[in-house]
């Protein structure tokens, strides 16, 4: 394990930024967000960014290809380019776990090349959560906020940043800043891990369990009468899906420009009425069906297709951001019954 004094952090950032684009969480209007590090940019102390770190691999919008059309002719332009190396610093345990969930979608055959090339070029430096929020429930999904995954795991104390490489990519990055880091025992880290674990136990949502959910539960929950009330005031907006680190549904659309047609992919939401709309009808005609889809997908369908893994990481963003404060915790508690309370 290596450590670096917080007063030297800017130097470390400068060294990293020599070889790769470096993104760190930065405070700003509307909350923290990942921003490109430059001289003078300070790291946020916020627990989490408003938008999740999925943006780095699955951006809100990206051009897939372009077309030129003339008369009856079409030219297909594959303008994919090698992505640049980049480092994301300060990703929390929940968001790091979300990459694994996204990988199972985008890296399964046929591999999504846009996602894959970003994954290949990105180095993740995770950061343990010193002050988890009341909305956190990552423990429910077996995530350890005290010991996040990633290429490098970092722990921040009052004075120092402790760094431990978990992968080859991480080793390489650590060696790039070895001149300003020093070897250390992990005592301070062990101490912090204990503190974090103790807080995790005290969190109000620490008793939420997934016991009642998972693969093979479609029949049990699909026709539950509880969906009516749970969904009854859903606005049908896409806030929960767009701030969610694991929501990965997308739309493909064409944008006509003077030069031709740009085919782009953008985030889509199963909460939207046109998500499943076809010329002759809609398989999910009301908000109830759309609402049910989102939660069934996270709690049952995804586990069905992914060895029981859930597609929620308990980051709590939807709890904070839903305009009507409806969220997966309320769904789990209602569907799962009293034992979940």
């Amino acid at each position: 394990m290596r450590k670096i004094s917080l007063s030297n952090l800017d130097k470390a950032f400068a060294l990293i930024a020599e070889n790769a684009k470096l993104y760190i969480p930065v405070d700003g209007k509307g909350g923290a967000s990942f921003k490109l590090w430059q001289e003078g940019v300070k790291m946020s102390d916020a627990l989490n960014t408003v938008r999740s770190a999925k943006d780095f691999f699955f951006p809100q919008m990206e051009t897939l290809m372009e077309f030129k059309t003339e008369g009856k002719n079409i030219e297909i332009i594959d303008n994919r380019q090698e992505k640049e190396d980049f480092v994301v610093f300060g990703v929390r345990a929940c968001d790091v776990k979300s990459f694994e969930i996204l990988d199972r979608v985008f890296l399964s055959e046929p591999v999504d090349s846009y996602y894959a090339s970003r994954r290949e070029k990105g180095v993740i430096v995770s950061l343990a959560c010193g002050r988890p929020s009341e909305t956190c429930f990552c423990k429910t999904f077996g995530i350890d906020a005290a010991n996040p995954a990633g290429d490098i795991t970092a722990w921040k104390t009052e004075t120092d940043l402790y760094l431990l490489a978990n992968t080859e990519k991480g080793e390489k990055l650590l060696s790039a800043i070895s001149s300003i880091t020093e070897d250390c025992d992990g005592k301070a880290v062990e101490e912090q891990k204990k503190q974090i674990s103790a807080i995790m136990e005290k969190l109000p949502l620490s008793n939420v369990t997934t016991e009642k959910f998972g693969a093979g539960k479609t029949k049990e929950y699909f026709d539950s009468p509880a969906w009516d009330e749970l969904s009854s005031h859903c606005l049908g907006c896409g806030t929960c899906t767009f701030v969610c680190p694991t929501c990965q549904c997308y739309d493909i659309k064409d944008f006509k420009t003077n030069e031709g047609v740009q085919r782009f992919r953008c985030w889509d939401s199963c909460m939207y009425s046109d998500f499943t709309l076809m010329a002759h009808g809609n398989s999910r005609a009301s908000q109830k069906e759309r609402f049910r889809q989102r939660f069934m997908h996270k709690l049952v369908y995804y586990p069905d297709n992914n060895d029981g893994m859930f597609s929620c990481v308990g980051c709590g963003r939807c709890l904070t951001k839903c305009p009507i404060s409806m969220n997966i915790v309320k769904v789990m508690k209602t569907l799962g019954g009293k034992e979940n309370d």
């Binding site: 009341e134 909305t135 896409g238 939401s269 404060s325």
Partner: protein, 329 residues
């Protein structure tokens, strides 16, 4: 002013449910924490006593939910409306969005709602409980124990600039009614107007660049009640879920602001729900300020049936050229 509490409202609901005036109550249900509340319909007093909540976090504007709620089943829906909500209520009636006869409005006085975002800005994450029974909030966090903050400091943006304590619609009132009050709600608009065009453009570009096109502002807006929004219509040519370029983001918000101009009551729901904290209400306030300046003071929703200046014609109306000149200053 009578303090409106959960108990007062439950007692009123019990009376109206038991004497058959209403068959259901549209209200808020308590959530996981001391501040998160979800709209819910209660049909019996027992479930209300168990789950109904009303406190300083009960800021949501209920008017729009009435469109859907009044279409369900027989009987009247009881709804408790704050003064600001009643303006949206009237505006929706003006636009024939629901049947007035299917609603029973109990007007409740309001001395402002608090914004959990502001509490979190002050104390950070890890809020265990918030006691908002007095004008000094007691906030307990996981990390710093109990701390105090004045309610005035964490008032929701729209309450900080409250425009009226008067109910413009109700079947009955709890307590006495207030008055339309003067507010400083156009101060920020003034500041924006004082900027140069470039500065203003930069301001909005920065704000709107955070937009994730979740549509929460539109979906919660009581003035946005089109059955099919142009931005949801595949045939409109503007239905894009993410902007292919920055112009489109601006277009979505500007078109929306234009569309609700003269109908927006300045209820502030758009800014309340924005996950990116974009001050969307400022776009609408600019329109309100201009309409007031061009046509004389006009408050949408003040009276059912009022014709907004933009859809009304009088010989005294401003000529377009004058509006352009005035807007240019």
């Amino acid at each position: 002013m009578q303090k409106i509490t959960r108990e007062v409202l439950i007692a009123k609901a019990e009376e109206l449910l038991s004497n058959g005036t209403v068959s259901k109550v549209l209200g808020l249900k308590k959530g996981e924490f001391s501040y998160d509340q979800t709209p819910a319909v209660f049909t019996d007093i027992e479930s209300m006593k168990k789950d109904f909540v009303f406190d300083d976090f009960s800021g949501a504007n209920f008017s729009k939910y009435l469109i859907k709620e009044t279409k369900k089943g027989e009987g009247k829906t009881l709804v408790f409306l704050k003064p600001c909500d009643t303006y949206s209520f009237n505006q929706l009636l003006t636009e024939h969005r629901f049947d007035r006869e299917k609603v029973y409005v109990v007007g409740i006085a309001c001395d402002g709602m608090v914004d959990i975002k502001k509490i979190k800005n002050a104390f950070g994450d890890g809020i265990v409980s918030v006691d908002a029974t007095t004008d000094t909030l007691k906030v307990e966090t996981l990390y710093d124990g109990v701390k105090e903050i004045a309610k005035a400091e964490v008032l929701a943006e729209r309450c900080r600039n409250c425009k009226s304590k008067k109910h413009v619609a109700y079947d009955e009132l709890i307590g006495e009614d207030g008055e339309v009050i003067s507010s400083n709600r156009f101060d920020q608009v003034d500041e924006l107007e004082k900027m140069t065009a470039d500065e203003r453009f930069a301001f909005w570009q920065n704000e709107l660049s955070r937009c994730i096109r979740c549509n929460a502002c539109r979906d919660v807006c009581p003035a946005c009640t089109c059955e099919k929004c142009v931005f949801d219509n595949p045939n409109s040519g503007v239905q894009n879920k993410a902007a292919a370029n920055s112009f489109e983001e601006q277009m979505f918000h500007i078109i929306r602001a234009f569309h609700v101009a003269g109908r927006c009551t300045d209820c502030g729901e758009c800014s309340r729900v924005c996950p990116q904290q974009i001050p969307l209400h400022l776009l609408n306030r600019k329109f309100i300020k201009d309409i007031n300046g061009f046509y004389g003071d006009y408050q949408a929703g003040e009276e059912v049936g009022n014709r907004a200046p933009l859809v009304n014609y009088t010989k005294e109306d401003l000529e377009p050229s004058e509006a352009v000149n005035k807007g240019d200053k």
